[in-house]
Symmetry: C2
Subunit: 212 residues, 2 copies
């Protein structure tokens, strides 16, 4: 069955790979599954046809036969559960990898989302500049905790997993802020992931799509 | 094997059920699994013994034999996968229920977390009051989208699932803000969940724990 995902018709990042379709492309590349991409304009995100796929009007969505999914974490988990290469076989290790997926989206991404919101939605407000150090500090707290845990491990828990894929995808969103620079083991971790052939193929595919 | 979860030694909400251990207690009650609770003081959350269970110094954690998990979403999913009652049998329906779990923690909870942060961390800042309507509006946007999707369904997708459990747990966090009141179908959805015997048992257990 053909897998079809949605992506921004033109990503706001101009193809830097930070939109959430990159996570799903990456997972599909890791497990060797071909897929098709349908671009959605900002206006179309809020129209009934897209809201039927994702009630929150976001990308990516995932269609495969009669199955429709949304939420990058859920899509990556679905792919990881149905193909080998992204989750350990052993039951406890598998549960731990899934825990890292949730940690990425529920403990690390929220302060990063807040930082992005602070730039784009509060940036022109009177408090924009004064508030920014507090928002950055909340991100830094999470990075520090994560860096302390990761230490010199190459990946979170044995081989590369969907947990690493989600965590790196979230960390890539703060790469341009400079906040990762205080944590050499995190920059090395992210670079190690970016060097994976599957990541490169996913990055190149989204870049080509966004600059077509 | 005994299941042991951690909870705040005293929850900041005084036992209103909003700390994330309630989600895990609720899931365990839905599937009929007994569990033990270990209280952790705020100081102990940042100590090595707890950081070994959860690198971000949060509750809840979950221990069962040699398995240690953290992240409420991951723990609820682990429980739902190993016992009947929280996930549909059919594969596509199961994937959709998991998508709702991710939607709860990655699309709905982040603006709610931001609202809580705005109250407790920015509340005494010069911009506290001026910024609040913007933060509330971001929550309202998500609630509106979710209410439009839910419509008059009793639960998100057929029977009550771990997706509903996580979504209701997130919505309960804004109940006191008044933001739910504009959406009668959401208040009814939350009330329907609160009326479940398993939720009541979980609520009562955390309340007794926090007022002991």
């Amino acid at each position: 069955m053909t897998i079809t995902i949605t992506a921004f018709h033109r990503s706001p990042d101009g193809g830097r790979g930070l939109a959430r379709d990159t996570r799903v492309r990456w997972a599909l590349e890791e497990v060797g599954q071909p897929y098709e991409v349908r671009g959605v304009t900002f206006a179309a995100l809020k129209e009934p046809a897209h809201l039927a796929l994702n009630p929150f009007g976001q990308i990516p969505t995932y269609e495969e036969g009669g199955l429709v999914l949304f939420e990058s974490g859920a899509i990556v988990l679905h792919i990881a559960e149905r193909h080998t290469g992204l989750l350990p076989e052993e039951s406890d290790a598998r549960a731990r990898a899934i825990a890292w997926m949730f940690a990425a989206v529920n403990s690390v991404e929220p302060p990063i989302l807040e930082l992005e919101t602070a730039k784009f939605a509060d940036g022109d407000k009177p408090w924009g500049a004064d508030r920014m150090p507090l928002v950055r500090e909340r991100v830094r707290t999470r990075l520090k905790q994560f860096a302390a845990h990761l230490g010199e491990r190459p990946w979170l828990d044995g081989d590369f997993s969907a947990g690493d894929l989600m965590m790196v995808s979230v960390l890539l969103r703060v790469k341009s802020s400079g906040l990762l620079n205080d944590f050499p083991n995190l920059t090395a971790y992210v670079a190690r992931a970016e060097a994976r052939p599957a990541y490169k193929r996913a990055y190149d595919a989204q870049h080509a799509f966004n600059t077509r």
